[in-house]
């Protein structure tokens, strides 16, 4: 449980510097607006269809978009700031192992993200007071959102460990996430066989089933593996100081 000290420090920094508050506010305003528009759409055109395909699917695809927008801003400072301030020198000379540092930071971001997502439960709760629905599909969507977010966080943390500039860190994370998103957009250009392979790796396509209210165990495993993969890359990036000529 050695990572707890880094976890607590990160949370103190996030909540002490208003980063967490401003990102949570933006997240709630955006998701709230999307939920409202999706609900209006459902109210106007959705009475003859089931609520899952006419409300929840749209809502969770929107939530996915907002997540992609917000999380790089949360993760950009993780290592870039430490490098810029020189505080990484402290972490690396304290009796902390690199996995402690990585897990502490990862879980701190997950905590903040989970908190944001938890607050959005207010929307379906409000809806449930005026309209009866089955909680299964939205809960599946939320599970998917959390898994997707964790993968985004691991990815953003990895990129942050490569640079000491926070803007570069955020922009590169956007670049990578958008690449994952657009990976399968143009089937004509890359051919159906190739798409069959790359779609397996598209973080965004994997999310589709969750949005439709379906939990596939292989999708869960996929997100967990991707998260672990990026955590592993972060570890390698930190350990590189031992053989690379960095000053």
């Amino acid at each position: 449980m050695k990572f707890m000290c880094v976890f607590k420090k990160e949370l103190r920094l996030y909540f002490g510097s208003f980063i967490a508050y401003s990102l949570m506010t933006a997240f709630l305003i955006l998701t709230g607006y999307f939920f409202y528009t999706d609900m209006v759409f459902f109210d106007l055109f959705g009475d003859f269809m089931d609520i899952t395909s006419s409300l929840w699917t749209y809502y969770f695809l929107d939530l996915r978009f907002v997540t992609m927008l917000i999380l790089p801003l949360l993760t950009m400072r993780l290592f870039a700031e430490e490098k810029k301030l020189g505080t990484i020198e402290l972490l690396w000379t304290y009796p902390l192992k690199d996995p402690h540092i990585i897990l502490g930071k990862f879980f701190a971001c997950c905590f903040i993200f989970f908190l944001m997502v938890f607050l959005t439960l207010a929307y379906p709760l409000l809806l449930s007071t005026v309209h009866q629905f089955d909680w299964g599909p939205p809960l599946a969507g939320y599970v998917g959102t959390l898994l997707l977010g964790a993968t985004f966080i691991a990815c953003g943390m990895f990129i942050s460990s490569l640079t000491e500039n926070q803007v570069v860190s955020a922009m590169s994370t956007y670049g990578l996430l958008v690449f994952f998103w657009f990976l399968t957009w143009n089937e004509e250009a890359i051919g159906t066989q190739v798409i069959g392979v790359v779609s397996q790796f598209s973080l965004f396509d994997r999310f589709q089933d969750f949005a439709k209210g379906v939990i596939n165990s292989k999708d869960i495993v996929f997100f967990l593996l991707m998260t672990l993969f990026f955590l592993y890359l972060t570890l390698q990036s930190l350990e590189s100081r031992k053989w690379r000529g960095i000053r």
Binding site: C5, K8, R12, L13, G86, I88, E89, L90
Partner: protein, 332 residues
């Protein structure tokens, strides 16, 4: 307590530390002296477990810094050259994090934090945000974090830089006190710091150790060679020849004109190095017998500064023939 054997560190093509070896016994305060870029910080970072050496072997308290890094880190308190603190955290929460990271048991944490806060004179600012503190206080926070968990070895990279004179004295006293029962390595380029704080000095330049001597040895050595500054009106080469023939004189060097000032037209000034008893009487008598005008003769105290500059300039290959009078050093 600390052993370094043939340690080399390369950053790509740059050789930062070149095959250095030294040993620091338990309880000694050692000053690392050298110009910027000499390899001081790199050596200290290796000892603090920040990165491993490219080759060579270093141990702290008998533990290898490469294979037993984790235990070395538990033993060492490190103050980095760039004062690194989290500007957004209050002093106390920062130290709380440090204590937890350094494995201070939960029940002792509060007491330990109170101890370092007091030792570093941070009582008044302990609840303020570090980023709002003055540079001097931030520096103290940096030292406080190194002291948490009473490390047996303290590695302080330029701990007094950027402080006002009063704070410098305080921090030096603190280091002196700490040095009473633990091993301390401090790096600095302030020479008076070495003489007030350290037991021994290691002079390093271009990644190599130029000298490693205890301060008492160094003082004795400084007293062995004595110096005279002589200014004489007369033919320069003849004066030089005479001075060189004097008994016990080791070297005679011309003093640069620019150093002396404009009124010295037609005269020559020399620095004479000799050993043993004062030879001012003999020198002045010999010069006057030749009928030259003796304008000035005075004994020069050979200081740590001179010694340091000589060593560094020699190792840089710029030392030959150039000698700066101590007066000009003081003026700087």
């Amino acid at each position: 307590m600390i052993t370094v054997e043939n340690v080399t560190k390369r950053f790509g093509p740059l050789l930062a530390v070149d095959q250095i070896s030294f040993h620091v016994p338990r309880g000694e305060v050692v000053g690392f002296l050298g110009p910027n870029g000499a390899g001081k910080s790199t050596t200290m970072r290796i000892l603090a477990g920040f990165f491993p050496p490219t080759s060579g072997h270093a141990t702290v308290g008998g533990l290898d810094v490469v294979t037993q890094t984790h235990r070395v880190k538990q033993m060492v308190g490190y103050f980095p050259e760039r004062v690194s603190v989290y500007p957004d955290l209050p002093v106390r929460s920062f130290l709380d994090f440090v204590a937890e990271a350094k494995d201070v048991p939960r029940r002792e944490r509060k007491q330990e934090i109170a101890r370092v806060i007091e030792a570093c004179g941070l009582d008044k600012v302990s609840d303020r945000i570090i980023g709002h503190l003055s540079k001097g206080y931030r520096q103290r926070v940096g030292i406080a974090q190194a002291l948490v968990h009473k490390p047996e070895v303290l590695i302080l990279d330029e701990p007094t830089i950027g402080l006002d004179p009063e704070q410098v004295v305080e921090i030096r006293r603190l280091i002196r006190d700490l040095g009473a029962d633990r091993t301390v390595i401090i790096s600095t380029h302030i020479l008076s710091e070495v003489s007030t704080v350290c037991d021994r000095v290691i002079i390093i330049n271009g990644g190599r150790i130029l000298a490693s001597e205890s301060l008492t040895e160094l003082r004795a050595q400084l007293q062995r060679t004595r110096r005279l500054q002589v200014e004489v009106e007369g033919p320069e080469s003849a004066i030089r020849g005479l001075l060189e023939q004097m008994p016990r004189v080791e070297t005679v060097r011309s003093l640069e004109l620019g150093v002396r000032g404009p009124e010295s037209n037609g005269s020559a000034a020399f620095i004479v190095e000799y050993t043993g008893e004062d030879i001012r009487k003999e020198v002045s008598r010999a010069l006057l017998q030749q009928g030259w005008g003796l304008l000035e003769i005075r004994a020069l105290e050979l200081t740590l500064e001179d010694m340091y500059l000589q060593l560094v300039q020699q190792s840089n290959g710029t030392g030959a023939g150039v000698y700066l009078a101590p007066a000009t050093l003081v003026a700087e």
